[in-house]
Amino acid sequence: MSFELILGAWVAAGLTLFILTFLYQDNPLFKLAEHLYVGVSVGYAIVKTYDTVLVRLIYEPMLKPGITQGEWAKGDWSLLIPLTIGALMLARYAPKTAWMSRIAFAFVVGVGSGLAIPRVVSSYILKQIEDTVRPLLMLGADGGVSFTASLADPASNLNSIVLLIGVVSVLFYFFFSVEHTGPGRVVARTGIVFLMISFGAGFGYTVMARMSLLIGRLTDLIEFSQPQYGGATWWLLALTIATLIAFRLRRGETEPPR
């Protein structure tokens, strides 16, 4: 196994353990790893933005057209427009020119809002209404009208009714122009029950998500504890615990007894 991989295993195992010390309490090891995390991810973002935006989206299409073909064969000077708008955005940092950044934000927010409106209507309003509006009875194979009550089939009539009740009552719960009294109270109560079921489902599903992350980290730690990595996890675990104890003792000395 290469040296880089072994070193990598030690670093990764160490940083993982440092972060996990937060479970004991907030401490310098956690803070160290946490700040390193912010620094590295910001550095990563800067490098990627430079490579993608400046090199691949601006410099090459504009000044190095030879490497691409077709539409890109000629230098694309229209890219100066987004470059200018982007530069205006950065004007925010000098107090005197800060107002210029408004022009850039105005453009981005304007286009963004415009793009969003019709698409939101189409995808999140019409499409959702379309799928909720379903006949409450079904045309049977013999031409007669029937009612399907299977819970297992999401498209059954019974489920269409349940879905309709859910959508209507929850929409009504978020209706602020009428008091929730009389029949409104019943509908709003139904809405809150539906909301709670959905939150319960969300909680349950999220448990799986968070456990997966832990499983992922522990799987790595188990792998790094193998002899080919020099038992990195074990050594580092001992080191981390020793450091935590040392911090605890030192703090006990410096802090006056209560």
């Binding site: 019709p118 019409l126 209404i129 379309e130 009875l137 602020f176 939150f199």
Partner: protein, 417 residues
């Protein structure tokens, strides 16, 4: 398989063929060729009427070729290519999912769209005239309709989306209309139960003589939830000032902090306690998610506030904050529109303003016409949606029971392109 079974199967297979054999093969009737409407060009549409001989045994062939100079005669078949060959019981107008207002041919007619793509070769180009021929084929027999010409071109409006545009315009009018109304007179808003919980929590902190912790979330000042959090902070600060309880507001965004500082100051002034206002009750920690969370958790454990408020937008840190807060025994009130964090707020907090309730609470407190008017406009929008769901379901059910065609109304509620 039993003998009877086999006979029945054979009968079932033969029946349609026998019926078809009785029908004479005829050339496609009412053939129309026209530029495909509502599109960006490079496409033609052919439609023709269904025929009695339509069935699995018969096929339709669509042929296209560039039309020569318009001589008035029918273009020759040479130079035409077959671009489609399909069973005659497929490809109907109704398969294309268009609303009734943008259809010119009955739904039962056959329809085929000629354009570049899977198996269509290079398709057709805008501005060029094309001749199109459709023939019905059964076995070796074939009947052809006379060729028709048309020119594909791009269009300036997609009429299929008319209902979408209408919704945008009408909803816009409703929202701006409501804002105008709100500027002129009071708009009724139902009581938000969560606000009582806010007062109760402040009351309890005062009794215990412990501080109050108020968080404004992860968002910046452009997010509606952060604005709502700042407005509610104003209310909390006013109460706190009256009772002279300690208020702590740790921030993640410097601009939000500056705004909240102003709001807090104003609240102390209104409560008649400007001297009690402390500049450092609003303080900045860091922009980073987990450093911030660790620091706030530290404050909770050290200062043991009697009430924690979590307003605004939150991400994964929500649970780290509320779980720690719950362990210190504080009353916790949350308000957020971050729907994946709601399950955690609902389980770990004593009261939660769910989603739009947060905006409503803020509008209720601020009495600002724009906020109130928008809320009313959205309410009208919701009422219309509820109406559409009710009418739509009733009509769809009626249609199943009576066989009535209700698409004239239902198409309005659909997203058809």
């Amino acid at each position: 398989m039993t003998a009877t079974g086999r006979t029945m199967l054979a009968f079932a297979l033969l029946a349609p063929l026998a019926a078809q054999a009785g029908e004479r093969l005829a050339p496609p009737q009412e053939l129309q060729v026209f530029d495909t409407p509502n599109d960006g060009g490079n496409s033609l549409t052919v439609t023709w009427a269904p025929a009695p001989h339509d069935g699995p045994g018969t096929r339709y062939l669509v042929m296209v070729g560039e039309a020569g100079p318009p001589t008035g005669t029918s273009p020759s078949l040479a130079g035409m290519t077959v671009i489609a060959d399909f069973p005659s019981d497929s490809h109907y107008v109704r398969d294309a999912r268009t609303p009734w207002w943008s259809r010119s041919v009955p739904k039962t007619h056959h329809q085929y769209e000629i354009k570049r793509g899977r198996g269509n070769g290079n398709g057709v180009k805008d501005g060029t005239s094309y001749a199109v021929v459709v023939s019905a084929v059964r076995g070796h027999e074939s009947m052809m309709a006379p060729a028709l010409q048309s020119v594909p071109q791009p269009n300036w409006f997609n009429w299929n989306e008319l209902n979408n545009l209408a919704i945008v315009v009408l909803f816009g009018l409703v929202v701006f209309g409501s804002i105008q109304v709100a500027r002129k007179r009071e708009i009724f808003l139902r009581r938000i139960a969560g606000l009582d919980a806010v007062d109760e929590a402040i009351g309890r902190s005062t009794e215990l003589g412990k501080p109050i912790l108020y968080l404004t979330g992860a968002g910046d000042m452009s997010e509606p939830s952060t604005i709502a959090a700042a407005v509610i902070l104003g209310r909390v600060a006013k109460r706190v000032a009256a009772y002279e309880t300690e208020l702590m507001v740790p921030h993640r965004d410097p601009i939000v902090m500056a705004v909240c500082q102003e709001i807090t100051k104003q609240s102390y002034l209104e409560a008649g306690k400007p001297d009690a206002f402390k500049e450092d009750s609003n303080f900045f920690i860091t922009t980073d998610q987990f450093s911030y969370t660790a620091a706030v958790d530290g404050i909770m454990l050290r200062k043991k506030p009697a009430a924690n408020f979590f307003m605004g937008s939150y991400f994964a840190e929500s649970l780290l904050l509320t779980e720690t807060g719950a362990s210190t025994g504080a009353i916790q009130i949350a308000g957020t529109d971050s729907d994946h964090q709601l399950p955690f707020f609902v389980t770990t907090c004593d009261y939660t303003l769910i989603g739009e309730e947060l905006y409503a609470a803020s509008a209720y407190l601020s009495r600002e016409p724009v906020q109130l008017g928008t809320l009313r406009g959205q309410d009208i929008g919701k009422a219309v949606v509820l109406g559409m769901l009710g009418i739509g379901t009733a009509l769809a059910t009626l249609s199943v029971m009576t066989g009535l065609d209700v698409s004239i109304v239902l198409d309005l509620f659909k997203d058809l392109k």
